[in-house]
């Protein structure tokens, strides 16, 4: 080995060892000074200023901000939820930079509207976001659909029906919107309406996350309906026998049930004292309203098996 080759080898080795040491040291520093980590901060909060600063490349900047929204929401959500202080400003900047960025409206409104810990619990901002989208993309019926969904989630069935109706009047609008407008106006709070909404979402979306979410809601609706029917059966049993059944076998023996009832995930329901029916594994039914075991604390990150 020549002198030059030796020098190169030694220098290369020093370079690798030094860089590896630097990485280890920075990681150690991060651990010892957690307060020095980047806090929730928005250096430039004005969308107009950002648009000017982008020198015409606002499309790419909007994509970067949208990615930041996803990472910000996902980061907080994955750690059990909490305050989403920057979610609305980030979404506002994203959609001001690129008013045609449809995923920002579709997913952003869901992030904003969903109740904690699944979302930020900011329905008013979600409505403002989608209305901004409608102003800039007036011919896209999907935005009316999203708006109607937010109102529906807030149990504001009148405005939900109105949003469906407006959307249904657009060219290329899905025929489902017209049906939903009528259904929402007449039977806003029914389980049947909820089932129709989520079924349509499952059928019309190609996105795996949206489909998984819709499928989870449909399973929860089915479980809600099952729990209501099973509790009614337990009550009928009590009226006949003078006491609540201790388990479902008694209902089966009485000819009131054909077999052991299973929830949409295939897990058996549990009959508790007093005729109360609960699911045995509520983690798999994150959007359930009824049938939750006493004292159950929902998971921070809901289990959403992929839609079939």
């Amino acid at each position: 080995m020549t002198r030059s080759q030796k020098l190169t080898a030694v220098a290369s080795l020093i370079l690798i060892v030094s860089m590896a040491s630097a990485v280890v040291l920075v990681r150690t520093l991060d651990r010892s000074r957690p307060q020095a980590r980047l806090q929730e901060v928005l250096y430039v909060s004005s969308p107009k200023l950002l648009k000017r600063l982008s020198l015409g490349y606002e499309g790419l900047l909007a994509d970067i901000y949208w990615t930041r929204v996803v990472q910000y929401f996902g980061g907080i959500h994955a750690h059990g939820g909490g305050q989403y202080k920057l979610l609305w400003p980030l979404l506002n900047i994203t959609t001001q930079l690129d008013p045609h960025l449809m995923p920002a409206y579709e997913f952003g409104s869901t992030f904003l509207c969903a109740k904690p810990p699944n979302g930020a619990g900011m329905p008013d901002e979600a409505i403002e976001l989608v209305r901004h989208g409608i102003r800039n993309n007036p011919s896209d019926w999907h935005l009316y659909y999203d708006l109607a969904f937010i109102y529906y989630d807030q149990k504001d069935y009148r405005d939900s029906a109105e949003a469906f109706l407006h959307g249904s009047q657009l060219p290329d609008a899905h025929p489902f919107l017209k049906i939903m407008a009528g259904q929402m106006a007449e039977h806003g709070g029914d389980l049947a309406t909820a089932r129709m909404m989520w079924s349509a979402t499952l059928q019309n979306s190609h996105d795996s996350m949206i489909r998984a979410n819709a499928a989870a809601h449909l399973r929860a609706i089915q479980a809600d309906a099952d729990v209501i029917v099973l509790e009614q059966l337990a009550e009928q049993y009590r009226q006949r026998k003078g006491h609540f059944p201790e388990n479902f076998s008694e209902l089966i023996s009485a000819g009131m049930l054909r077999g052991e009832p299973l929830d949409p995930m295939g897990h058996p329901y549990r009959l508790e004292p007093g005729g109360k029916v609960v699911v045995s594994d509520p983690d798999y039914l994150p959007f359930l309203d009824t049938g939750l075991p006493e004292g159950y604390v929902p998971r921070h990150v809901p289990r959403l098996p992929p839609a079939k």
Binding site: L55, G56, Y57, G59, L60, D63, V70, D98, P103, M209
Partner: protein, 258 residues
Amino acid sequence: MNSRILHIATNTFREAVRDRVLYNLIAFALLMSIAAVLVGQISIHIERLVVINLGLTAVSLFGLVIAILIGIGLVSKEMDKRTLYTVLSRPVRRWEFIAGKFFGLTGTLIVNTFFMAIGVFAALAYVSHHFVRSDAWVLAALYFIVLQFVLITALALFFSSFSTPIFSAVFAFWLFVIGNFAGDLRNFAAMTHGVTRALATAAAYIVPNFSDLNVISQVAHGEAVPIRLIILNTAYVTVYALAVLSGAVVIFERRNLK
């Protein structure tokens, strides 16, 4: 184009290739590959948008940097190396030298853009598995980017004809920045009165209008680029570049090269 201009243009192109200018294509290819693979994992539903936005922005910025960094040295470098005197001692007129340099650098940037465009479409094919009709408008955006290069090359060459490379780079870059606010400047001028209005209006029309040459965000959403805009931008860039090159020729003709 006469043969002397063609020779100078060809040599400018060869020199740029020898200076490893086209190495930026490697950085561009890496950028596009990383974007195409990574974005789907860290964001939602913007894979196509990012490939178009990032691809065209990179084409534009890489090209602008090349245009400025090479353009500012086109004259001064030849003077420093004394090769300018050899060229001008032959039957080559000064304006032919300026024109040859301009076409040589513009040609380099067009070749560079061509290879980057292949990269953009390859990344687009990778993320969406097929092309749609509206993807053709990406070509219009690429054409507008080439028009930006024509303007910035002419400006860099203009400053290079009388200033030092550092100042030429600063002037060219700031004109690019100000040119992106050309629309705002015209609006500002319209709101003023008297002498201010006259000065502001003059300034607004003197700075190059880069603001209408950026349709990246538009084509990323599949929106069409009006043919009228293509024709008007082509005409504008042609006359503006001609004006700037004429200025460069006037200054260079009067410059004492001894």
